[in-house]
Symmetry: C2
Subunit: 458 residues, 2 copies
């Protein structure tokens, strides 16, 4: 290969050739090249014939394929798995971490999923079925049962011996959990402490009893926050009786946080979250995610037509009033959008709460006063350059102050109020606040105009 | 306390009382109560007099205070540290993880920071100074030098003994790095492997040579992606010669991802990132972050005034045209905002790249055709309910199709194009795309109106 830069076609040839030869090392090398070029291996594998995909999986072995699928998005991994023979798919699932396997199985059509699980080792299939019973966005849906635990009565050296037997299967042995015979969680022990202590110390004396735990039904975001806040490598998941069911490991935190941030961002942009990588989303899926909000916003915005018809008389008398409609409501929308996104993010990070409402309103109103002062001058100036007269300039200069203040106030109050009503504050998107301010902004505008311009009654 | 619910005032009294008694256990319990109530301990500590804060720090001890500050936002931690006597502050910094200490010192005014560092142990101060030399958003700015490393010639049991000596100081001993005498990184060994192997195995034979590393000057986001993608607990940071300088641990990933997501969200909302917790931001800071974009958007939006004055003749002849201005440009802006936020997020997650541009445009145009079809019918219907005539209904029905397609196209092309020009795509905020579509949307609207309504020339 030398220093030659490989093209996408070269990499395809490389992979196909490695599959033809059934050479696991060459396949791994081809995958590495694909990864290094920043390409998505899924796209290469998608294009293989079922027969080639099967030979690929066979040559690489179930363990390697399982590792690979674990790095993919669960929907992608499910697509690939469904194209493998049942027995093959079952082996791959067995080789995967149970929590990742459950995520993938959750994306396979139920009939196929059952068939694959029948082909699995009964114990592993059982484990998977238990995990599938929890909604994917709860602590239970994220946990893996592959933790290690020991009895409190062991000595440190006995515990190390016990670990040796189970370490192969465990996802992490950095934390060793201490359980009673009734499965209740007693405490936790770090591998670090176990190794660095005297061999004859008792587990009971080494363990920390005050353990952070999370309820199996809790939201996955709560688990991520606990792991993150206390820099934990793993968090034990317990039922209401305090029995240990599984653990959530630190490598899940990033996935959870990314997923939640993506949902927030997409809601703030004014659509339902996609829940699927963008490039895999069909136009019809994008349509379905976007049209409900567009229609809702349309209905809300349609109100502006009513407002404007109501002021038809003023508009006919002073057509120049129309010149400033987009500018005034646009500026109001921009201020609202800035405020709302900052606040929704701060709420997502747990920085603000309902009891901070007064502080927030005060802060936002003070900010809006400064913004309004600057924008008022600029708007008056713009009116002058359009040669619409000083009266019109005063109308728009005053209107922009009122709209900016009104918009900031609404944007400051709405997210926290919605959360109080148990509505996700991220639905107060930039488009939502813009729409809300458009109609009310026009009422403000024409009321000010009527007062200052002294338009005669019709 | 029994089962009684504590109020905020109760918790303040509890804390103050514990400080008065100089009782570390009671202070810790008060902090736990504050934490459990979901309160921010920073707000409690901020309100203590300097003397009380000093007594608080003295009673709790430097180690505990260091742990506590490590959980705070660096700006908050810096504020508190500055209120402590120099010698006290130095002790606390020494007790903190070096990477966290560096983040905090970076937020202290330089003169005070130097004074505190002079009061520190020379070696620890030196370590801190080295870390401060790297920009905070690079791998170097995030790393900690508190890793453990061994020589490749040791046996496993000797390595465990060596670990015992340094484990106290290290941030993690889950990965043990293997270094040559010239400090080059040779490989890595997990604590797990070291413990579970035969005591007389050589480190050289146990270590994995193919280690993921990151260059000290690389972006912190790159480090987070590597750690996340490969589920690593720590990532070694090297210089261009391959010498090991420090490690970035998994607990930093969540912080990095949250910080980057926050910046993206705030940009998408149309303001400069705050870079500081919302409640600590002064109105003037919020003003400074928001006014540049508001003014830029104002100037761009001012163009709509020019467009409307240009079509003054059409507006005078058919005032009803004005009724639909907010509805049409609002809908265009909403479609653009949906598209742009979804795309910018997908780019942030590394899901789409410039070479996907054609696929993206195709996908967005197909989606927009479906959206336009539905919205066209609805818009025509709305025109009918406003009793403006079938001709006007056709004008707005056709206009909404064109505006939706145009808006989707612009929103699909712009983020990737900007990235090509090395501009952060997140500046294409919802307000930005709305503003862009407002002016061009009006041109489309009046052009369609002129053609269909046959308005006589003036």
């Amino acid at each position: 290969m030398g220093g030659r830069v490989l093209t996408e076609d070269d990499r395809r040839v490389l992979l196909r050739d490695a599959i033809d030869r059934g050479d696991a090392t060459a396949i791994a090398e081809a995958l590495r090249q694909i990864d290094e070029a920043g390409d998505d291996p899924v796209e290469y594998l998608d294009q293989l014939s079922p027969r080639d995909l099967q030979r690929f999986a066979h040559a690489l072995g179930a363990d390697e394929v399982g590792d690979l699928l674990g790095e993919f998005d669960p929907t992608d991994a499910a697509d690939l798995l469904e194209r493998l023979p049942l027995a093959h798919a079952a082996d791959v699932l067995e080789a995967m971490e149970p929590d990742e396997a459950a995520d993938v199985v959750g994306e396979i059509v139920p009939a196929t999923a059952s068939q694959i699980m029948v082909a699995m080792e009964p114990l592993e299939a059982e484990e998977l079925r238990e995990l599938l019973a929890y909604p994917p966005d709860t602590a239970g849906g994220r946990m893996t049962p592959a933790y290690v635990s020991v009895s409190p009565e062991l000595r440190a050296d006995q515990a190390v011996v016990a670990l040796r037997r189970v370490a192969e299967e465990a996802e992490t042995i950095n934390y060793i959990y201490v359980q009673e015979e009734d499965e209740r969680l007693l405490g936790v022990l770090s591998l670090r402490n176990l190794v660095l202590t005297r061999p004859d110390s008792r587990v009971r004396d080494l363990m920390i009893e005050d353990v952070y735990t999370i309820l199996v039904t809790a939201d996955q975001e709560e688990a991520a926050q606990l792991l993150n806040e206390h820099d934990l490598l793993a968090l034990p998941v317990v039922d209401s009786e305090g029995r240990l069911l599984g653990i959530i490991t630190a490598d899940d935190v990033a996935d959870i946080l990314e997923q939640e941030a993506t949902e927030d961002i997409e809601r703030l942009g004014g659509s339902q979250p996609l829940e699927e990588p963008y490039l895999r989303a069909t136009p019809f899926l994008l349509f379905r995610r976007r049209i409900p909000w567009l229609l809702a916003l349309f209905v809300a915005e349609a109100y502006t037509g009513t407002v404007l018809r109501h002021f038809e008389h003023e508009l006919s008398n002073a057509v120049a009033l129309a010149f400033f409609i987009p500018l005034l409501i646009g500026t109001g929308g921009n201020v609202g959008s800035q405020t709302v996104t900052t606040l929704v993010r701060a709420m997502g990070l747990g920085q603000v709460r309902i009891r901070d409402l007064f502080r927030i309103v005060r802060k936002e109103v003070l900010t809006a006063i400064m913004l309004a002062a600057v924008l008022s001058v600029v708007t008056f100036g713009r009116a002058m350059t359009l040669h619409v007269g000083v009266d019109m300039g005063m109308v728009v200069g005053i209107t922009v102050v009122l709209i900016v203040l009104w918009s900031a106030l609404v944007a400051a109050v709405l997210p926290l109020t919605l959360r109080q009503l148990k509505i996700d504050p991220a639905v107060v998107s930039a488009p939502f606040i813009t729409t809300l301010v458009d109609g009310t902004g026009l009422v403000i505008y024409f009321t000010v105009a009527r007062m200052i311009l002294h338009i005669p009654n019709s």
